[in-house]
Amino acid sequence: MTTLTDPPKESFRLSMLIYDTRYRSMTIQAVAMIGFMLAAAWLINNTIVNLNTLGKPIDFGFLSEPSSYDINQRLLDYNSRDTHLRASLLGLLNTLVVAVLGCITATILGVLIGVLRLSKNWLVSRIMTVYVEMFRNVPVLLWIVLAMAILIESLPAPRAFRGEDATASMSFFDTIAVTNRGVYVPEVLFSRSLGDVHFLGTSSFRFDVSLDLIAFLIVLGASIFAVRKVTARAARIQEETGERPKTLWLNIGIIVVPTAILFAALGFHLGYPELKGFNFSGGTHLRNSLIALWLALSLYTAAFIAEIVRGGILAISKGQTEAAGALGLRPGKIMRLVILPQALRVIIPPLISNYLNLTKNSSLAIAVGYMDITGTLGGITMNQTGRELECVLMLMACYLIISLSISSVMNWYNNRVKLVER
C-alpha cells in the first residue's frame, strides 16, 4: 500500500541560486541590478569628483543671480536685472507657446493632408504625396532656416513703410503690418479695464492675471452652460413630441449677447500697430523667429501626421464605408461620422510621439534666434555662467516634464476614445 508522503524537505543550498531554475532568473536580475547601480554610482561619483577637482562643484546658486541679458519675446514681465531662474521660466513659456501652436497647426494640416492623400482625385492625391515626401525627407532644421530666410529676405523692412514714397503699406485696411521683423496685428484693449491681480510678490515665479480675461471666461462659461441647458431641453421636447424646436438663433444669442455686453462695459477697442521711430508699436508683434519656427515645425510634423492619419483610415475595413454608403450617408459624413472616429484609435498613439517630437524639435529655435528654454537656460545662461552640467540637467528635466505631461494628457484622451468606441 502506498501512502502519500510529503516529498522530503529539500534544504536550501547556495548553489541552487544558479542551478535551480526556480531561483536562477531572480539571481540574474539581482546581479544585473547591482551591476547597474554600481555603474550609475561610479558615473555620478566620477562626475562629482572630477567637477570638484576642476573647481566647479555642482551648485544651483547661479539661478538666483541677475541674468544681465534681455529677452525679446516676453510673456511675463522681465528685464535684465531679473534672475536666471526667471529668464529660464520665460524661455520655458516660449517653448510652450511654439509647441502648442505647432501641435495644433500640425494636427489640422496633417489630418487634412492625410485625408486628401486618399482622395480619388489623381491630382490632389499626387500633390499631397509630393508634400509628404518633400517635408519628411528634409531635416527640419533646414526648413526652419529656409522659412526664416524667406521671411527676412522677401518681406519689407519697417523703414520701407515710412515717408511719402513708401514702398510698402499695411494690409487689411491698414490694420496689419507684415514686415521682415514679423507681423504686427491689432490687439484687444479695454479702456475701462478691471486691471490685473498680481501673484507671488517679487519672486522669480511672479505673474499677473488679467481680471478682464477672468470676467470673459466666466461669462463665456455661463453662456456655454446655458446653451447646454437649451440643447438638453430641445432634445427632451424632441423625445416627447417628435418635433425639435429651433434653437440655433437662441444659442447664438446666448453666446454673443452677454459677451458683447461685457466688452461694451469694459470699453473694448482694438489697438492698431503704427510705425513709430525704428519699428511699429502698438498691436501684437508676432516675431519672425516665432513665425518661422512655428511654420517649419508644423509643416514638417504635418507630413508625419498625414501618414499616420492615412494609415489609420486605411486600417478601417472597406465594409464600413460600404455599409455607411448603403445607409445613404454621403462621403463627407462617412468620413466624419464613421471612419475617423474609429481611425482615431489607431491614430492617437503615434500622434503622441509626433507631438513629443515637435516639442523636442522646437529646441532648434536658436537657429532663428527664438528665445526658447534652450536659448535662455541652455544658451545664454549656460554660456555666461559656465554651469554646463546644472543647466543641461535642468533642461533635460524640463523637456522630460513637458513630454510626460503631453503623453499623459494624450493617453487620457486615448482611453476616452477607446471607451466610446466600444
Binding site: 566620477n46 562626475t47 569628483v49 572630477n50 567637477l51 577637482t53 576642476l54 573647481g55 566647479k56 544681465s68 541679458y69 534681455d70 529677452i71 525679446n72 528685464n79 535684465s80 536685472r81 532644421l141 530666410a149 527676412i152 529676405e153 523692412a157 519697417p158 523703414r159 520701407a160 521682415n180 521683423r181 513709430k276 521711430g277 525704428f278 519699428n279 508699436s281 519672425n288 523667429s289 529646441s363 532648434l364 536658436i366 537657429a367 534666434g369 528665445m371 534652450t374 536659448g375 541652455g378 544658451g379 545664454i380 549656460m382 554660456n383 555666461q384 555662467t385 559656465g386 554646463e388 552640467l389 543647466c391 543641461v392
Partner: protein, 338 residues
C-alpha cells in the same frame, strides 16, 4: 546642435579634470598638430580663403604657436566655434587653445576656469547702422531692433547700456557673424553691435561699406586675447610667451624679412635670447632653441600680422591706436625676455 552642447557638457564633466592634468604640450607634440579654436568666419581675424586655408590676425597666433611647438606653422587644425560653443570646446579638451576675439573678463578667468595669456587686441563694443537712418549717436537708438551675437559679452554690455540710458530696444540673438550680417543687410535689424574691430571687419565685406556708419560711442572695454584651460601652467606659458615673442619682436625690430640674418647673432643680448642663440629660454619652456624664431617666421611679428590682416592698408583699415607698441603710446607691451 543641442547634442553637441550636451555631449560637450558631459565631456567637460567626465574628462576635463583628466585633460587639464595631462600635459597639453606633450599631447600636441604627440599629435603633431595643434587644435586651435577660431571664429566661424570673420574676415581679417579668422576666415578660410578661397582655397580653404585659414587666414587672419587670430589665425596668425595659432600658426605662431604651432610653429613654436612643432616647427611647422601649417600643423594646425582650425576648429570653428561660435560665441556659444567656444568655451565648451576649450573646457572639454576639443581644442588646445582658443584665439577667437574673446574678451578677458573676471568670470571667464576665475569662474569658467580659463587662463587668458595676454591681449592681442584692445577693443571696445561699438554700433553700426545704415547711414540712411541718419542716426548720429547710440543714445538715439530708442526702440531700435539690435542684432547681437549670443554667448558674448556684447549682449551683457548692450543690456546695461540701454538700461543705464533708460531707452528700450528689441534684441535679436544670433549665433554667428554671417547670420548677423544677413539679417542686418536685409533690414531685419536696424543696428549691429559687437566689438568695434569686428564691425570694421564685417563692414569691409559689404558691397557698399560707405552706406554704413559706426557710431561714436564705444560702450565697453574688450581686451581680446588667446586663452587656454586653467591648470596646465606649462602650456599656458608656451602660448603666453609665443604671443610675447611676437610683440617683443616688433619692439626689437625683428621682422620676418631680417630674422634669418638676426638669428645668426646680433649684439643685442635680448634679441639673442629671444632667437635662441644665447641662453636656454626654449629649453625652459620644453621647446627647441629656435621656437621663437619659428613663431615669428610663421607670419611675421605682431606689427606685421596687424598690418597684413587688419591694418590701414587692408580693406578693414584699422589704425593701431591702443594697439600700438607702448613705445609709440599704445598699450601693447611684452615683459622682457630674460
Amino acid at each position: 546642435m543641442k547634442k553637441t552642447v550636451i555631449f560637450g557638457a558631459l565631456t567637460v564633466a567626465g574628462l576635463a579634470a583628466g585633460a587639464a592634468a595631462a600635459g597639453t604640450l606633450d599631447d600636441v607634440k604627440a599629435r603633431g598638430k595643434l587644435n586651435c579654436g577660431v571664429t566661424t568666419g570673420l574676415v581679417g581675424f579668422a576666415a578660410p580663403d578661397a582655397n580653404g586655408n585659414w587666414d587672419g590676425f587670430d589665425v596668425g597666433v595659432c600658426r605662431a604657436v604651432a610653429a613654436a611647438v612643432l616647427g611647422d606653422p601649417t600643423a594646425v587644425e582650425f576648429v570653428p566655434t561660435t560665441g556659444k560653443t567656444r568655451f565648451t570646446a576649450l573646457a572639454s579638451g576639443e581644442i588646445d587653445m582658443l584665439a577667437r576675439n574673446t574678451t578677458w573678463t573676471f568670470s571667464r578667468d576665475v569662474d569658467l576656469k580659463f587662463e587668458f595669456v595676454g591681449v592681442n587686441y584692445y577693443d571696445g563694443q561699438g554700433f553700426m547702422v545704415p547711414a540712411e537712418l541718419g542716426v548720429s549717436s547710440a543714445k538715439e537708438l530708442d526702440g531700435a531692433t539690435v542684432c547681437i551675437q549670443t554667448g558674448t559679452t556684447t549682449e551683457l554690455n548692450l543690456a546695461d547700456f540701454f538700461r543705464a540710458n533708460n531707452i528700450s530696444y528689441e534684441p535679436v540673438p544670433i549665433e554667428t557673424n554671417a547670420e548677423a550680417q544677413q539679417q542686418y543687410l536685409a533690414g531685419a535689424c536696424d543696428v549691429y553691435t559687437t566689438d568695434a574691430s569686428g564691425l570694421a571687419a564685417t563692414r569691409a565685406t559689404f558691397e557698399n561699406p560707405s552706406a554704413h556708419v559706426l557710431l561714436p560711442e564705444i560702450i565697453s572695454k574688450e581686451p581680446l586675447g588667446p586663452l587656454v584651460r586653467h591648470g596646465d601652467n606649462n602650456w599656458g606659458d608656451v602660448v603666453r610667451w609665443t604671443l610675447n615673442a611676437l610683440i617683443s619682436a616688433e619692439e626689437l625690430g625683428v621682422t620676418s624679412a631680417n630674422i634669418g640674418e638676426m638669428a645668426s647673432g646680433t649684439n643685442n643680448p635680448e634679441i639673442n635670447r629671444l632667437l635662441g642663440t644665447e641662453g636656454t629660454l626654449g629649453e625652459m619652456l620644453g621647446l627647441s632653441a629656435d621656437w621663437a624664431k619659428n613663431a615669428i617666421m610663421a607670419g611675421g611679428n605682431y606689427g606685421e600680422l596687424f598690418e597684413k590682416n587688419i591694418g590701414e592698408n587692408t580693406p578693414i583699415g584699422l589704425a593701431r591706436g591702443l594697439n600700438a607698441q607702448w613705445t609709440d603710446g599704445g598699450l601693447i607691451y611684452s615683459p622682457p625676455f630674460r
